[in-house]
């Protein structure tokens, strides 16, 4: 269980010597939600009590998804000394990485809580489904970090590719817009079901907003989980031993 303490250290030390400490990660999303909310209220295309909670949950979920993916390409590179010293195994590095991201995610939950209170959004039993969604998201974080960690060590372009693509993926996923709500999803809305990120966001967001996610979303998420772990198993078997040489 030592990876939990290590995650705690890496989480806390990131904000050492700042005046707000880890509270800083509340500042960015809060400002973003406030101004985007203000802007769209001005345009008058969505009702704030529907759009703002949608935006808030979507944004912090996306922060975790995008964060894990972009960081995954450099996860082993950043732990080069520990790998070459033999103190941390690849599995433990991944465990620390994913737990740290989960800690940041949970740290941002107060934003959602406050927004739900402001707009009087009640939670019903369906909301519990989002725990399953979060669990699956974390599980996917594990294989993503492992698989792209190995590939990113071998191919140094990967992190730049992820950086470039994740910004587009953010726009293609309904976070600052809503599909079919007069928010003009346009072309993207039509292609939505082919966007895996949409399904990953949905399994957490929809239950919190009182709706069960579509069966398709669960299928996609479960499918990715299975395929991902299969890929991780394959890479571990064939290439994990080469990682120390690629570093």
């Amino acid at each position: 269980m030592s990876f939990i303490y290590l995650s705690y250290f890496s989480f806390v030390l990131r904000y050492r010597r700042t005046s707000l400490g880890p509270l800083w990660i509340l500042v960015g999303p809060s400002l973003f939600i406030f101004f985007i909310g203000l802007l769209f209220a001005e345009i008058g295309t969505a009702q704030p009590e529907v759009f703002i909670p949608h935006l808030a949950v979507g944004l912090i979920t996306w922060t975790m998804i995008g964060g894990v993916i972009v960081a995954s390409a450099t996860v082993f590179k950043r732990s080069r000394p520990q790998i070459l010293q033999g103190t941390l195994s690849l599995e433990r590095i991944v465990a620390v990485e994913v737990t740290t991201t989960l800690l940041s995610f949970m740290h941002q939950l107060p934003i959602v809580l406050i927004i739900f209170l402001i707009y009087g959004i009640g939670l019903n039993w369906i909301a519990l489904e989002s725990f399953l969604g979060l669990g699956l998201l974390v599980a996917n974080g594990v294989w993503v970090s492992y698989v792209f960690g190995i590939l990113g060590t071998r191919y140094r372009d990967l992190v730049e590719i992820f950086n470039a693509l994740m910004r587009l993926a953010f726009l293609a996923t309904p976070i600052i817009w809503m599909p079919g709500e007069g928010m003009r999803g346009g072309v993207m809305a039509a292609a939505l079901i082919y966007n895996p990120f949409y399904h990953f966001v949905e399994v957490i967001r929809a239950p919190l907003l009182g709706q069960s996610p579509a069966l398709l979303s669960w299928e996609v998420v479960f499918g990715f989980t299975a395929a991902g772990f299969l890929a991780a198993w394959f890479l571990k078997k064939r290439y994990a031993r080469l990682v120390p040489f690629w570093l």
Binding site: R17, P81, Q85, R154, R156, P244
Partner: protein, 257 residues
């Protein structure tokens, strides 16, 4: 789990071959199809570098092994294999007990964390539990002589203080087989004596030692046996004096001829 009568390390014809990857091939943009190629043809096409070849030896409990060889002979690589960092690509290697190395002593220290936090950070990375770390703290404190500075951030430490803490923390381990890549030294003489004493304690506490160093005197002090490595191959294994003789007569002389 650790059988005392068994040899500490049993190596039978093991090799370490690694596919060669040039800096050019690390780029995806040059040839995106390479990714596909790598997956399907990696085994056939790639030239391999033989880092270690056909190494066989047996280290008995109590034997302290010195690795002798020129730079690039494979000493550090062998240590990393024994530590489990590099996996042999063929052959058999059995390490009976825990083998841990002191390769990079200031590894994983965080400049923004306090001295005390760094003890925890390093301890956790080395696989120690919180309880075990807590029980080791008085010892680390005494050895590093940091006193009240232990509560200050590492970034505020002098080089000497940092080194003292690093050595104190690195030597918290207690492995069956101690792997050392060069001796740990630390500036001022008084402290060096302390380090030496501590290292001796660590060596005495272990059931076996593998030491790679160019310092002949040091090797004589600590090692009973010697292994001569020459370009990734085991050239000689035997008592230390025989190994040193072999090295100077066979390897060094050949090179000068």
């Amino acid at each position: 789990m650790t059988d005392v009568s068994k040899p500490l390390i049993e190596a039978k014809n093991f090799s370490l071959r690694v596919p060669v990857i040039t800096a050019k091939e690390s780029g995806l943009m040059r040839n995106p199809l390479q990714l596909v190629g790598d997956f399907y043809f990696s085994r056939k096409v790639r030239p391999k570098a033989n880092l270690l070849e056909d190494v066989s030896f047996m280290q008995q409990p109590g034997e302290r092994l010195g690795l002798i060889g020129a730079n690039g002979a494979g000493k550090s690589t062998l240590l990393r294999v024994l530590a489990g960092i590099y996996a042999p690509s063929s052959g058999k290697l059995e390490v009976n007990g825990s083998a841990k190395g002191l390769f990079d002593i200031s590894l994983g220290m965080h400049p923004d964390a306090t001295g005390l936090e760094n003890i925890y950070l390093r301890g956790l990375q080395m696989g120690l539990g919180l309880k075990a770390i807590r029980s080791l703290i008085p010892d680390v404190m005494a050895f590093s002589e940091l006193g009240e500075h232990i509560g200050k951030q590492l970034a505020t430490y002098s080089t000497g203080m940092r080194l003292r803490l690093a050595i104190a923390v690195s030597t918290m381990i207690n492995p069956d087989i101690l792997l050392l890549d060069e001796w740990i030294g630390a500036g001022d003489e008084r402290f060096n004596a302390k380090v030496k004493e501590r290292m001796m304690g660590l060596v005495d506490g272990s059931r076996g030692l593998v030491l790679a160093t160019h310092n002949v005197g040091l090797m004589k002090t600590f090692c009973t046996h010697g292994m001569v490595l020459d370009r990734g191959r085991l050239a000689f294994y035997g008592t230390l004096s025989d190994a040193q003789k072999f090295y100077s007569s066979e390897i060094l002389n050949k090179k000068t001829n």
